[in-house]
Amino acid sequence: MRIVLGALLGAASMLAVGQAYAAEKLTIATVNNGDMVRMQTLTDDFKAKNPDIDLEWVTLEENVLRQKVTTDIATKGGQFDVLTIGTYEVPIWAKKGWLVPLDHLGADYDTADLLPPIRDGLSLDGKLYAAPFYGESSMVMYRKDLFEKAGLTMPDSPTWDFIAEAAKKITDKPGEVYGICLRGKAGWGENMAFLTAMSNSFGARWFDEQWKPQFDQPEWKDTLSFYVNLMKEAGPPGASSNGFNENLALFNSGKCGMWIDATVAASFVTNPKDSKVADKVGFALAPNKGLGKNANWLWAWSLAVPAGSKKTEAAEKFIAWATSKGYLDLVASKEGWANVPPGTRASLYANPEYQKAAPFAKMTLDSINSADPTHPTVKPVPYTGVQFVAIPEFQGLGTTVGQLFSAALAGKSTVDEALASAQQVTTREMTKAGYIK
């Protein structure tokens, strides 16, 4: 056994020596979303500029990717050189010292050009720990033709009351047109992303300054009852298991009057290849309640380097390439401006060619700029993050609470019951985790 092991180790070290002479190989873990897939196809450009660096891609769906990357970085498995992570992970991991601060992105990288809310969300103590690859907020997408038919005009920044009224007017259940489609599937990144952002606009918050859960407060009751009633009257059947993609399919096949979801969806719903309603979609800011916060979130898929990586230099070179202005130009020249990864750089939104190619550009920018991850709520909170709470416990908590809220949506429990249970489980978990003394 020992001999075999020795031989294996020997072979492994020889391989390692062999690699030092050959090109350095970066293993990049990334999500299977369209913009990343496109990046993969543009690898040749990077290799032409950096012949001594090889790229190896691990492209996976979000859930699988997250669990792999987290397991690996927490156990220091060292399987990846570049990680794709979101605004939820970055502040937590940076605090743990798991990420390398990105100090060497190059002179022409222009960090100041990154959109401030996104840059803030990815920084800790003024240092950037991940570079945004694409950013998104959420907004209202609506059917201009249906609004016209109903004699309605969508304001640029609608209130929740207007949204509810419009949704009810548009709904034509026998004709399979539902006034509004919203996320309902349980999960911290599914219904809770939407509901947490929505609750911010209603003046609610997850925790008070002492980390005491706030589901017993009237603001949450308003949020959840409004959501449940609205969906009952104007939502599609099966809403409690609809996530982003289910709603996208419904909207694209012409069954939703409005849909409030990620700004990246704008490029899907306006693409005639994927959408029956491509030329009939309008955009508006996520709704508000007049309290100074809109119901929009903020997310950025970002590239980071795990601490302990021996290829930091090459990894930063790659990150600088993939998130630079030059990369945007590259995508524009090969695939057109509409396919450029959105939501990261101010210069992109100043570009008239982009504004022309992407009718949703202005609304996306306004949405992102109106989100503030450091002050997400009306009342003060001890956490950062708009549609999430940037603490390690949130994924589990969010999913449990998400199940309770999906039950309220499905009519399996009342709003009051759901909120009472949410208060109870959250208090329990926060006590276990040591936040509540």
Binding site: S241, P392, T399, Q403, A410
Partner: protein
């Protein structure tokens, strides 16, 4: 009957399996038991501390625990019932002189080839979706309101998907067992004019008893740990309607990254699985001997 020599040989032949499986069991089990006694969050390494049975206390008093336990048992029981009854009937049919038998058999076995997450996604979005799914279209053809599967019958929907995946397994094992059934006996019975039902209950079913036992035991093991299908269809909801023990452990391990809690959940799951297994063996185990 067996000689001393064969006994010794028998031990030697079994030994590698036992040793390997023992190591495979004891090393992770030991580590898991140890972790279950720690406060150990993967996202906060270096802060491990011994907390005794606290993790067990939290897992067992989780308000979701008993619902999850009940859901687990319902899921396992229902899928077992569907696959065993369905499997016997389909195996009997597949054993008949069907024209193009090879292709039909392959079609019946095929669902087993599809990855669980894929079949769950296909069922949820292309078949069961109340607006754009195929089932909705079929019910509208008959003038019925489409069933809103994941809102009104979420657990049943999961049971159907999982049963579809495991029916081929039961069919395949039972079919193989059926084929070792003596042709001469079959023909003799046919010539005697034994009524088919009597033939089935008196001859075929006893012959299949051991295979059915194996199907039940092996499926139970897999069904106790179903969670991928739940994750991609309902995320355990609405409410706790589709949360089972495996999903709870999943949430602890890969959402919360609470290794202490997940380990405790894992140990609880092992204990529960053993109880179920002992119960099942009491019920059907006599078929294993003889």
């Amino acid at each position: 009957m067996a000689t001393r020599q064969t006994h010794i040989l028998g031990r030697i032949l079994v030994a590698p399996s036992i040793v390997l499986l023992f190591l495979w069991m004891i090393v992770p089990l030991g580590m898991t038991i140890w972790f279950s006694l720690l406060r150990y969050s993967l996202l906060d390494p270096g802060s491990e501390s011994f907390v005794g049975l606290l993790n067990y206390q939290y897992f067992l008093t989780d308000p979701a625990f008993f619902t999850a336990l009940a859901n687990t048992l319902v899921l396992v029981g229902a899928v077992l019932a569907i696959t065993v009854v369905g499997g016997v009937l389909i195996a009997l049919l597949m054993d008949q002189p069907i024209f193009g038998r090879g292709i039909v058999r392959l079609m019946v076995i095929a669902p087993f080839f599809v990855m669980p997450t894929v079949s769950a996604l296909v069922w949820k979005n292309l078949l069961m979706h109340p607006v754009s799914g195929l089932f909705a279209w079929v019910s509208k053809l008959f003038g019925l309101t489409p069933v809103d599967w994941f809102t009104d019958y979420p657990l049943l929907a999961i049971i159907l998907i999982v049963s579809w995946q495991w029916l081929p397994f039961a069919t395949l094992i039972l079919l193989t067992a059926l084929q070792s059934f003596d042709e001469e006996q079959k023909e003799a019975a046919q010539m005697d004019g034994t009524p088919p039902l009597a033939f089935f209950f008196l001859m075929i079913l006893p012959h299949l008893a051991r295979a059915i036992t194996v199907v039940i035991l092996i499926e139970t093991i897999f069904l106790l740990s179903v969670f991928a299908e739940i994750l991609v269809t309902t995320g355990g909801g609405p409410g706790l309607a589709t949360t089972n023990i495996a999903f709870l452990v999943y949430a602890q391990a890969l959402l919360q990254y609470d290794i202490g809690g997940a380990s405790a959940g894992g140990i609880v799951a092992v204990v529960l699985a053993n109880i179920v297994a002992i119960f099942l063996v009491r019920l059907v185990g006599k078929n294993l001997d003889a």
